[in-house]
């Protein structure tokens, strides 16, 4: 919302030397956020009123003139193409240094002394839209210069001063005042400033009339329309309003139209209470405010043709709806050039109904956005009085032919008891009662202590009507008013104490962090975040079907309706995105997944939440690495995760093949026999469906909720060997389908040399030098003794025994060197 400081000054005598920055700061700290302050005069810097003394032809151009212009103590020659130039005319002159928009378009440019077709020109004589005044001085044709002859300003007067535009505009963050409907208007802000600065607020006396007529208003639904003032006026007509009114409306961001419409907008901007003017000649019978009947039609001012519901409140005449109450007028009753009689509406409508209707038809307006904040019905008095004053000013001959104030649902002022001891405790300091009362009374509250009990510590507070529409309702609200008026910065902080009886011990939280740090720091994976919704393309590529997958009812896009039951589709999308820039990368994500099943809630028996788990998933991606290498890397990361993150270990088995995985390359991850995750190579088919073109990807996913952290960091100490331990590599040819699991078992199970301490896989090789149907496996044996240093003969003997056993059990033969 934009506010004009000079307008606010109509209602409160702010000190003339008040710094605008200070005012903005204080409003921000105590009431609402001031997002910005604009000195309007800055827009018109280096612009002055000029008086054209002479208009001469341009020697080199038919369409241009050379004007001699008095700009105050100096006469300058200015080249101009305006079509309405005349001697004696007052014009806006942009002197060198001023910012203008050529022909009202594009970015502003700085005016310089220049030559136009060979003639030197001092600045520029402006059209209204070149200096941002197109709405205040609409040009009737192209190349029309703005004529300021009507203004009482001498040549050389700064333009802003001449037009009364030397004003400060405050921009208030609307979000910061959703709970303060009383502030939506200059009068409301003036009232708050009066309280902040301890200044008197000017009263707006209610309008009264003794007119007697059969003009009447009927309210059929007082809950939705607590108050409606209708005024019937004769002897009005369409003409421009005063320049001052137009200017103020324009300064705060609306567009002046004509006096009848401007008055209604002006009153709304001043008081926060929307008003509306109907053309009375288009209203048949009297006005009834009622709910629409379902299916009733209404054509709005903006040509929207509505079919109404019975939840919409409408203003009707004998023929049917003429306006959507509190939102917008209808086309039928609108103000037109022929209008001679109007009915002025100053009404109060219930907030939530207005909001529903405005949203239903996607038709939010200045009026509806104010009504939906809950406006105080007492404000109608000020709005009606202000409107009537301007009607009288603009139309001295006007007659009030009808007046009707229906107020079936009077607003109750909020009454609250506040315990002064409670207040002192919560504020952290004891304020004198007089200070508390003073602060509250400045805001319009009535305050009393119980007069009958002398030592009463109870304060009785009655909120003003404008704070009683929901804003102030409990003692905490009163505390806030006291605290902010006293100034939050005036309360001294006290340190928070700590206790020593509960060291934080959150094993699950710690484990999750260790896992993420393990993946990132030790294994080199980059953490990513993706949205909880999945793109249909990846859903179809990865999931066998969408059974049990939850959906959003209003998704961000039609193809993003499923929310994830697995992290893999979004990880695949991330792979597809990143393969454009990287040929090798590793990523992981930790997030929740959701399932349409097992509805329950540990918090409330009436609540039923779907099953939700926390997963961690990732992808090892490479364009150049072999599947074997990629697989071993991924498996290694998972295999060693329990060891490095201190949780119970898990096992790998092939039990249930994932639909997205290459049939030969996948594993399930099991904890205590239960599948808690898996890994595998993204199949060719799934890769293609994901649009992944050049890379191989090993995916993995784990259910974090199933993991079990160890009670503390767990490592086992063994003494360092007293005698040397040797590594001894052997390479043997095995059948191509022999699995390492079997080879390791053959080496380590059953009878084996006492000095054999272990056997580790080094690598395997197929191809040249290895016969068809065979593979070469290199195995590293660890050999050593607790009793002595082994001789090389003893080490070789051990290795020979192992090779013999492998030959016997698996048919392995020593690979020819």
């Amino acid at each position: 919302m934009k506010l004009s400081l000079s307008w606010i000054r109509d209602y409160v005598d702010l000190p003339a030397d008040l710094e605008i920055k200070k005012l903005a700061y204080e409003l921000t700290m105590d009431t609402v956020e001031v997002e910005g302050v604009e000195n309007l005069a800055d827009r018109f810097a280096n612009m002055v009123v000029g008086v054209i003394e002479e208009v001469l032809p341009h020697p080199n151009a038919d369409k241009l003139r050379v004007c001699r212009v008095d700009i105050g103590g100096d006469v300058k020659e200015i080249v101009c193409g305006g079509i309405n130039l005349a001697e004696g005319m007052k014009v806006a002159v942009a002197c060198p240094g001023a910012m203008v928009r050529w022909h009202g378009e594009g970015e502003p440019v700085v005016i310089k002394n220049s030559k136009l077709r060979g003639v030197a020109s001092f600045g520029m004589i402006c059209a209204s839209d070149e200096i941002g005044l197109g709405e205040l001085f609409p040009a009737s044709q192209e190349a029309e210069i703005v004529d300021l002859s009507a203004f009482d300003a001498a040549a050389g007067t700064p333009l802003a001063e001449a037009l009364g535009l030397d004003d400060q505009i405050l921009e208030i963050d609307n979000k910061s005042m959703t709970n303060r409907p009383d502030l939506w208007g200059h009068y409301g802000i003036a009232r708050e400033l009066a309280a902040l600065y301890g200044l008197p607020l000017k009263k707006i006396e209610p309008f009264s009339t003794d007119v007697k007529s059969d003009f009447k208003i009927e309210i059929a639904d007082p809950d939705r329309c607590p108050r409606y003032i209708g005024v019937e006026l004769e002897g009005v007509f369409v003409k421009p309003s005063s320049f001052e009114m137009q200017s103020r409306i324009w300064r705060v961001g609306m567009r002046p139209i004509n006096a009848l419409v401007d008055i209604t907008n002006y009153v709304m901007l001043a008081t926060g209470n929307p008003t509306h003017a109907f053309d009375a000649d288009n209203i048949s019978g009297h006005i009834v405010v009622r709910r629409a009947e379902a299916g009733e039609k209404l054509l709005l001012l903006n040509d929207k043709d509505l079919t109404l519901t019975d939840d919409d409140l409408v203003i009707t005449d004998a023929e049917g709806p003429v306006a959507l109450a509190g939102v917008m007028g209808g086309a039928k009753d609108s103000i037109l050039p022929k209008t001679q009689r109007v009915i002025l509406e100053v009404a109060n409508f219930e907030s939530t109904g207005i909001r529903r209707t405005a949203l239903r038809y996607d038709n939010r307006t200045e009026a509806s956005s104010r009504y939906e904040k809950a406006v105080d019905p007492e404000r109608c008095d000020q709005a009606a009085a202000m409107a009537m004053a301007y009607f009288k000013e603009f139309y001295p001959e006007m007659q009030v032919t009808g007046w009707c104030d229906r107020y079936p649902k009077k607003l109750e002022r909020a009454e609250i008891d506040v315990d002064l001891d409670w207040l002192a405790k919560r504020l952290g300091m004891e304020l004198p009662y007089d200070v508390i009362r003073g602060k509250l009374e400045s805001l319009g509250f009535d305050v009393a202590v119980n007069a009958f009990a002398r030592d009463s510590r109870k304060m009785h507070v009655i909120a003003p009507t404008w704070r009683s529409t929901g804003d102030i309702s409990i003692k905490d609200d009163v505390m806030e008013e006291v605290a902010r008026m006293y100034g939050y910065d005036n309360f001294l902080p006290t340190p928070i104490t700590t206790t020593f009886d509960h060291a934080i011990n959150q094993k699950d939280q710690d484990l999750l962090r260790r896992i993420k740090e393990y993946l990132a720091f030790r294994c080199g994976l980059q953490e990513v975040y993706t949205y909880p919704w999945m793109n249909d393309q990846y859903v179809n590529a990865i999931l066998p079907n969408t059974d049990g997958v939850l959906k959003l009812s209003t998704p961000p896009a039609p193809n993003l309706s499923y929310i994830r039951s697995t992290l893999l589709p979004n990880l695949c999308e991330a792979v597809a995105k990143n393969e454009k820039y990287f040929e090798e990368f590793k990523i992981f994500e930790e997030a929740q997944v959701f399932f349409d099943r097992n509805y329950t809630s540990p918090y409330d028996p009436a609540e039923a939440l779907p099953e939700q788990k926390r997963h961690i998933g990732g992808a090892f991606v490479s364009a150049k690495a072999s599947v074997e290498a990629l697989f071993r890397e991924a498996k290694g990361v998972l295999e060693y995760m329990p060891r490095f993150t201190h949780m119970e270990g898990f096992a790998f088995e092939r039990r249930e093949a994932p639909s997205w995985a290459e049939p030969a390359v996948w594993l399930n991850i099991l904890l205590d026999g239960e599948i808690i995750g898996g890994m595998g190579l993204l199949s060719k088919r799934a890769s293609m469906a994901c649009g992944i073109k050049n890379v191989k990807a090993i995916l993995f996913e784990l259910d974090v909720t199933k993991l079990r952290p160890l009670a503390s960091r767990t490592n086992k100490f063994t003494h360092l060997p007293e005698y040397p331990v040797s590594d001894y590599d052997i390479s043997m040819l095995f059948e191509a389908n022999a699995r390492w699991e079997e080879i390791a078992a053959a080496i380590l199970n059953g009878k084996k040399p006492a000095v054999l301490k272990g056997a580790a896989f080094v690598d395997e090789y197929r191809g040249r030098q290895v016969p068809e149907g065979k593979k070469s496996v290199t195995i590293r044996l660890t050999i050593g003794s607790e009793e002595k240093t082994l001789s090389s003969e003893e080490i070789e003997k051990c290795a020979a025994q192992v090779m013999k056993k492998l030959g016997k059990e698996l048919g392995a033969v020593l690979r020819a060197q």
Partner: protein, 345 residues
């Protein structure tokens, strides 16, 4: 004999001196001290000598042998020291090899930094589910029944669970505060906990608005908490996270679940409070709402608001990270774009 030894020594020293490598030194050594070496040859001559002269000659030979051994070892060390594995034009300006390139997401980094700070002050870390009911997301937090945030244009409701009583309507949580009520329901006061998580709003996105973003809630509930305590807490936390004193100010703000409510600003870390485009030239950045939990919220958690009060803040993690690193588009956080994420270690 003495002369022979002298001349042998002279030759030997020259041979040792001439050796340029360990292997030529080794050859020289075996020529002198080996089984067929010069010393051995001279030793063989001893028995043929006059018995009276033998002890003297033996002693001399032994001395010569020891001397040669010493010279050889000294020469060996000299050769070793001389032999460099690198050429003189080794290029020290070649860059180092990147260690494992992975990293945590910048949001996670900020979250962990905050966790560490809060934990050092005795706060627990709480985590809750993303899907919640309208009952917990709004009713329990004192949102009026017609509050606009409840509508589908603001909140992501689940298909098939988007109508009916509020305990049956389900949505992606629009904020974390409902989860705080769950914590309070299942724990005994006093409370001191933080609650990081992702929240969801159905709205149009741009560089400053996202549909999914990260919040970090901190809540203290005790019998004697004042809003000034909250200010001290925030100041202390932000100063730890940013590594320097961070000015904090609290100003009036409104949120249904707090009373009184505050907007909490921190001094702009980009310009140091002087004013710059990041802080819209005011020197302050709005980073979190906060306030005293509304009595209705405490009641919803089963507490007596006349007995208990507290302080709550809800830190916008995205905004804090944007501030920390000067990131200018909030949507990058969910982009999974490694060109972006790779910048944060």
């Amino acid at each position: 004999m003495k002369d022979k030894i002298q001349s042998m020594l002279k030759e030997a020293k020259a041979a040792i001196e001439a050796a340029a490598s360990e292997s030529s030194l080794q050859t020289a050594k075996s020529n002198l001290l080996g089984k067929q070496g010069s010393i051995s040859q001279l030793l063989k001559e001893l028995p043929k000598m006059d018995a009276a002269l033998r002890p003297e000659a033996g002693k001399l030979l032994n001395q010569a042998k020891n001397e040669l051994n010493e010279i050889i070892e000294a020469k060996r060390t000299e050769i070793k020291l001389k032999a460099s594995e690198v050429s003189a034009d080794f290029d020290c300006t070649v860059p180092g090899t990147l260690p494992q390139g992975g990293a945590l997401h910048p949001i996670t980094q900020m979250c962990y930094d905050l966790n560490d700070a809060f934990r050092s002050m005795g706060f627990e870390v709480f985590q809750e589910d993303d899907i919640t009911s309208e009952y917990y997301a709004f009713d329990k937090l004192n949102f009026p029944p017609n509050h606009p945030a409840r509508e589908s244009m603001d909140t992501y409701w689940l298909e098939g669970h988007d109508s009916g009583p509020t305990n049956e309507k389900l949505c992606l949580r629009p904020h974390l505060t409902g989860g705080s009520v769950r914590y309070m329901q299942t724990h005994k006061p006093p409370y001191r906990f933080v609650y990081p998580g992702r929240v969801y709003r159905n709205e149009a996105t741009d560089a400053h608005h996202e549909r999914a973003f990260f919040q970090y809630e901190a809540l203290i509930v005790d019998k004697d908490v004042k809003f000034t305590d909250g200010k001290v807490m925030i100041q202390s936390i932000l100063s730890k996270v940013f590594g320097r004193e961070v000015p904090v100010r609290m100003r009036a703000g409104f949120f249904p679940f707090v009373e009184p409510g505050f907007e909490i600003d921190m001094g702009c870390q980009v310009c140091g409070g002087k004013g710059c485009p990041v802080c819209k030239h005011v020197g302050w950045i709005e980073v979190m709402p906060g306030g005293t939990p509304h009595p209705n919220v405490l009641r919803a958690a089963g507490l007596d608001p006349d007995e208990y009060t507290g302080f709550y803040v809800n830190i916008g993690l995205d905004r804090l990270v944007m501030m920390r690193y000067g990131v200018d588009d909030v949507r990058l956080f969910h982009s999974a774009d490694l060109r972006f994420l790779g910048q944060f270690k």
